[in-house]
């Protein structure tokens, strides 16, 4: 039932790993979850903190006319994680995070913020047919909106309770972005944590972001403000969640230096203001400006959902839906 990827391991090591898997299966099985999709997703959050694993992860995302795919490594044990390798690596330990990317490091101390809403707070969750991911049996949980359209699929390991795969779907049902294990071995030694550069910058939690920044408590269609952070350079980050997806809005005083943005953007508008959009492995990114503020939205939600929430930061109750249609169907033309 449980297939373990163990290429390169000796027979003794395989035995140890199998024993470990068996123990983990006992200790981490989502027995209390049963087949309740919301409980499965809730328990999967905790399983990711508890299960020791070594695996290969594939990230696929829609970029331009096609899908782009990249793979990386993931290791975790006893609350410590290493995802990535070389110059692209994220490390987590004891509630802290460090992300390094081409020499740009971001360090978070113990991250404070409200707990996310329950997984079914905004989305309708149901169990789909069983599936297999990385050779492991999995529950499939489908998230649909109020129109009945499936917008995400989650695959949870039947033995370990671990999230094995997450698919984000376009409105037409086609895949927009996916993160999945292609290989997974439970157990293994504690990951070696790369050294954190001394003095790496880190944001701090704040209750008051000042009057020049905007920080709505809620953003349609269902995001709730979970944390406010100030980065060392003065950038304010607002973090929102809807139970399944998340959204960050970064705010900086000034006007957008359009010539300084990364290549590969698509042009659009947010509430009539010029915007640049990107499809990234992390999800949708939109940069725009308003009232002497430069805003950058980053979200792993389906693109149209992200757009709606990003447009809502302007608080224009009357106009944003019209502009949103233009934004999604007009200038960007990603699909």
């Amino acid at each position: 039932m449980t297939r373990i990827v163990s290429a390169g391991l000796g027979r003794a090591a395989v035995g140890v790993v199998l024993f470990g898997v068996a123990m983990l299966a006992v200790s981490n099985a989502p027995a209390s979850a049963g087949a309740d999709p919301e409980a499965l997703l809730r328990d999967a959050r905790e399983a990711s903190e508890d299960v020791a694993l070594t695996g290969i992860v594939e990230v696929r995302w829609r970029q331009g006319e096609g899908m782009r795919s990249e793979t990386t490594e993931a290791r975790s044990r006893r609350g410590a994680y290493v995802v990535g390798r070389g110059e692209h690596v994220a490390v987590g330990a004891d509630g802290a995070r460090w992300a390094a990317d081409d020499g740009i490091a971001t360090r978070w101390g113990h991250i404070e913020g409200d707990d996310p809403p329950r997984p079914g707070a905004t989305w309708n969750l149901s169990l789909g047919p069983g599936a297999e991911v990385a050779g492991r049996e999995a529950y499939m949980i489908v998230a649909t909106n109020d129109d009945g359209a499936a917008r995400a699929r989650f695959f949870v390991d039947k033995d370990l309770g671990l999230l094995l795969r997450r698919d984000v779907l376009q409105h037409d049902g086609d895949l927009e972005r996916s993160v999945r294990f292609t290989h997974l071995a439970a157990g293994g030694g504690a990951p070696a944590l790369p050294p954190v550069p001394p003095g790496a910058p880190g944001p701090t939690s704040t209750d008051d972001v000042g009057t020049r920044f905007v920080a709505p408590e809620r953003l349609d269609p269902g995001f709730r403000l979970l944390g406010k952070y100030e980065h060392p350079d003065g950038t304010v980050q607002l973090f929102y969640g809807d139970g399944l997806f998340s959204l960050s809005i970064f705010e900086q005083p000034g006007t957008v230096d359009w010539g300084g943005l990364p290549d590969g953007e698509r042009r659009g508008t947010v509430n009539g203001e010029r915007a640049a959009g990107y499809a990234t492995p992390a999800g949708t990114v939109v940069v725009w400006g308003r009232d002497d503020l430069v805003l950058t939205g980053v979200s792993d939600a389906p693109r149209d959902v992200a757009y709606e929430a990003i447009a809502a930061i302007d608080g224009s109750d009357d106009g944003f839906l019209t502009d949103l249609v233009d934004f999604v169907l007009g200038p960007f033309g990603w699909n």
Partner: protein, 149 residues
């Protein structure tokens, strides 16, 4: 179509036009080879200026500016430009020549222009998202090359 002038191309490159004006400029560019040539010319000039080495302004320069001495009224420059829209090439050539001289002495900091660090922001978002959530699926985006690579 409104009385659109080539001066709008500079504002267009700076991203200063509103949506309607930008659409109008893009429409004109689509139908006019002359406008496209002018746009290329303006872009080339600006690129050449940007390629020049920058030197920080002397401390006393800003002290004098803040004290009200030697103040350059950028608004006046813009107003003059608006009054004499048909001579933009002359103004641009003069400005370019002046800028070559000025840039060699001072570099006026563009204190209000911001280019968001998009890659860092996506990582910061991923790191925050991985707290009280599935760790691997949220951090995986950090572990792969993506934007601009």
């Amino acid at each position: 179509m409104s009385d659109l002038h080539e001066d709008a191309l500079s504002a267009y490159l700076d991203g200063e036009l509103d949506a309607a004006a930008r659409a109008e400029v893009e429409g004109r560019l689509a139908e006019s080879a002359e406008w496209r040539a002018i746009l290329d010319e303006v872009r080339e000039t600006r690129g050449a200026l940007r390629a020049l080495p920058q030197v920080d302004a002397a401390t006393e320069f800003w002290a004098r500016v803040l004290a009200g001495d030697d103040v350059v009224d950028l608004g006046a420059t813009r107003r003059a430009k608006e009054r004499r829209p048909r001579v933009w090439k002359v103004v641009a050539a003069g400005a370019a020549a002046a800028a070559v001289i000025v840039v060699g002495v001072i570099a006026v900091p563009e204190r209000d222009k911001v280019a968001p660090a998009v890659a860092s922001f996506t990582n910061a978002h991923a790191a925050r998202s991985s707290v009280n959530a599935d760790v691997v699926s949220n951090l995986a985006s950090v572990g792969v090359p993506g934007l601009g690579r």
